[in-house]
């Protein structure tokens, strides 16, 4: 699509002019939207740099006076933040690997193979997302307790290997269903097994989708609160999202400045992951070069 847009202006100066006006308007729209979207973050940053007694000023100040850079070191040294960070990297890394492996395999089966009971089971798969967590919390806890998994990372990292998060199976199934079936048929004719088709055709063709799934899952896991809260007892084992809640004192009032500073540090890895992974969506264009 992008290549075509670049070709069009050659057609004449009139279209060239209108093309440029259109382009400009796109930038204006994008920029305006970006400002609206960005305001909350600017405010977060501004708050993270404020002194505690300057939080409720009226009218609000964008540039704090004084600027308290110390909030950042204070926010992260206040607890074993570095340790939490490593724990989170470990949990997110293992769980994301597990989810991508299992969810893509299961999604392939749901999307492209015919087997009895498939449609019914697919509805069951969706159904697992429809019941609020709060009411399965206690039975699930009892289960993990009997497995001896409480106060270990297993409740956080083992279920992803069993495609526990139906969201990602569903997501990948939808993507896989957009890939033309001729490719599978052709490979079958050549004697390729279904697993080989999955590995050699479907996965390589689905890089953008897998990137989307990996980004979304790692962010979900990075922010996950309920499971770490319930299953992790030792403070050294906390994940960042759990440890950060320490700043939200219900009866003491929240230490906003520290919480916002910690939040920014908490967000940075997620933003970086996204920034680098989004390049995969441009490469997608190459795949469509497949012709029969």
């Amino acid at each position: 699509m992008a290549e075509r847009a670049a070709r069009l202006p050659a057609q004449g100066s009139d279209t060239q002019w209108s093309e440029q006006a259109k382009r400009l308007s796109i930038y204006v729209v994008l920029l305006a939207g970006a400002v609206i979207v960005f305001i909350p973050f600017a405010w977060t940053l501004s708050t993270a740099l404020k002194a505690p007694d300057r939080l409720a000023e009226f009218p609000p100040r964008w540039i704090p006076d004084p600027i308290v850079w110390d909030n950042f070191p204070e926010a992260v040294t206040i607890k074993p933040f570095g340790r939490w960070f490593l724990n989170t990297l470990f949990v997110v890394g293992v769980a994301t690997t597990g989810t991508i492996m299992s969810a893509s395999l299961v999604a392939y089966s749901f999307a492209r193979l015919r087997w009895p009971g498939r449609n019914l089971l697919f509805l069951v798969l969706l159904a697992t997302m429809m019941l609020p967590d709060q009411v399965t919390l206690i039975p699930t806890f009892v289960l993990f307790r009997h497995l001896g998994w409480v106060n270990t990372y297993l409740p956080l990292i083992a279920p992803p290997f069993f495609a526990r998060n139906a969201f990602f199976v569903f997501l990948l199934r939808q993507f896989f269903m957009t890939i033309p079936l001729d490719l599978d048929d052709a490979a079958r004719m050549d004697g390729a097994s279904y697993f080989q088709i999955y590995l050699r055709i479907i996965l390589p063709m689905s890089k953008p989708a897998l990137a989307v799934a990996a980004i979304m899952f790692s962010q979900f896991k990075w922010k996950e609160f309920l499971a770490p809260l319930i299953y992790l007892n030792k403070q050294e084992m906390f994940t960042v999202s759990l440890g950060l809640r320490t700043f939200i004192g219900e009866s003491w009032g929240t230490e906003w400045h520290l919480m916002m500073a910690a939040n920014i540090i908490f967000m940075i890895p997620l933003i970086l992951i996204f920034f680098f992974a989004q390049k995969y969506f441009i490469q997608g264009v190459v795949i469509t070069g497949v012709k029969g």
Binding site: D53, A56, V142, L229, L242, W252, G253, T254, W256
Partner: protein, 430 residues
């Protein structure tokens, strides 16, 4: 952070003296308790912001130093405490010692979760006389003790002294018996302090239960009737209190709209010097840190209503799980935390009102030279404490009352109408 370094040296001193004083007590214990070679480990669940976490580490370490038979495994639950604790209890994963809000005593005891302490108190002749009676009572059900308080907080008016002086308004009396500080003089002061054009307010009305409960009880109102067959918040005493508070927002406009408090947290608004008077429970440590020398502040009782002065509060305490397998060790921990040694360290780090009268009279709490000047308002107010009503329906009933009253605070309905409506809903529960 000069305040914290100063605190540290004193804390170290306290710690060493505490160990010295705790040793003899625990010396006798060691002979009566198990003679295990291996120390046992008790599990403690507690919430805690950074300050409270630090206080826990300090008291746990102190307890472990004071004897060598028992170690503490501290399960820190930074948020959603009830969700995790109740999941653990329902799932059969019982901690030995639990940090609980006083309001949980009745529901937990009625469901068989807490261990009665009377036999332990008797066996060890543990002296509870030094504990503020009103706070000790919060952990009693039908005369049986189930826990000990860790603090004795009650809610008072925190006020900005500098602001009062600038406006030439006389400071509220810190004497509980001085009824010249009443609703009329309070309103006068609030009017003189308010400067709406500059967004400066005399007082802040809050929608939580206790901040209005103080005014209701000061006017002679109650929540339930005596035999708990009806809610009586629609009787004149309570309705007048609601009307008065609502008039502060709407008629007199000395208090900002109700949602301002939840916008950033009432604490920040007071600390920023946007309201002159506000109702808080005593987290003095936080106030001292955040206000610093930006302005002078002090505390005073709420003004006297038709029935005199009043305060609300409760605080938190510790209890032993009925299913603990190490109740004797858990008891040792509980009584250590209720001892002078434990309470002193806890008070020093937390800046709360201690549950022991002796510590409340000592410099550990009074901190001479540091604000608030009239800190004894908290301890003198003990007889005026009107604890939360205790009934099985209270949790649900108070949440109904709080959400119904929203309509009054935002000016959608009158006090009597709202009160009648909430009473009807609560009576349905009874």
């Amino acid at each position: 952070m000069s305040a914290s370094t100063k605190g540290l040296s004193r804390r170290d001193f306290l710690r060493s003296s505490a160990v010295a004083s705790a040793v003899p007590v625990l010396g006798q214990v060691a002979t009566t308790v198990v003679h295990a070679q291996e120390p046992v480990t008790i599990r403690l669940t507690a919430w805690g912001n950074p300050t409270e976490y630090e206080a826990r580490l300090a008291t746990n370490a102190l307890f472990e130093e004071s004897q060598d038979a028992i170690k503490v495994e501290f399960i820190h639950i930074p948020d959603s405490y009830s969700t995790k604790l109740q999941t653990m209890l329902a799932g059969g994963d019982y901690p030995d010692v639990m940090y609980i809000g006083n309001g949980w005593t009745v529901p937990f005891v009625s469901r068989g979760q807490l261990e009665p302490l009377d036999s332990y108190i008797e066996r060890d002749m543990f002296d509870t006389d030094d504990i503020f009676q009103a706070n000790l009572d919060l952990y009693q059900v039908d005369g049986v003790q189930y826990g000990f308080p860790l603090d004795a907080p009650n809610q008072q008016i925190f006020y900005n002294v500098t602001w009062f002086e600038e406006k030439g308004v006389p400071r509220p009396s810190s004497d509980w018996e001085d009824e010249s500080w009443n609703w009329d003089t309070f309103l006068e002061a609030a009017l003189a302090l308010t400067d709406r054009d500059n967004n400066l307010w005399g007082f802040q009305v809050k929608n939580g239960f206790r901040p209005w409960w103080i005014w209701v009880t000061a006017n002679g109102g109650s929540f339930y009737n005596e035999d708990f067959t009806a809610c009586v918040l629609n009787e004149p005493a309570a309705v007048e209190a609601f009307e008065f508070l609502a008039s502060l927002i709407h008629e007199h406009q000395v208090a900002p709209p109700i949602d301002v408090a939840s916008e950033m947290g009432a604490w920040n608004i007071f600390e920023a010097g946007v309201v002159a008077m506000d109702t808080f429970w005593p987290a003095m440590g936080r106030m001292r840190n955040n206000i610093g020398d930006k302005f002078a502040w002090d505390v005073a009782p709420h003004p006297a209503g038709a029935a005199g002065k009043s305060t609300a509060g409760g605080g938190s305490g510790q209890a032993i799980s009925a299913f603990s397998e190490q109740k004797d060790s858990a008891w040792e921990f509980l009584r250590f935390m209720a001892s002078t040694a434990g309470v002193e360290v806890w008070t020093d780090i937390m800046g709360i009102v201690p549950p022991l009268q002796s510590v409340a009279a000592s410099d550990v709490f009074l901190k001479p030279g540091e604000p608030p000047e009239h800190i004894s308002v908290f301890t003198d107010g003990a007889p005026y404490l009107r604890p939360d009503p205790r009934h099985a329906t209270f949790a649900q009933a108070s949440s109904i009352a709080v959400s119904e009253l929203d309509r009054l605070w935002i000016g959608q309905a009158g006090a009597q109408e709202v009160a009648d409506s909430l009473v009807a809903q609560i009576n349905d529960l009874l």
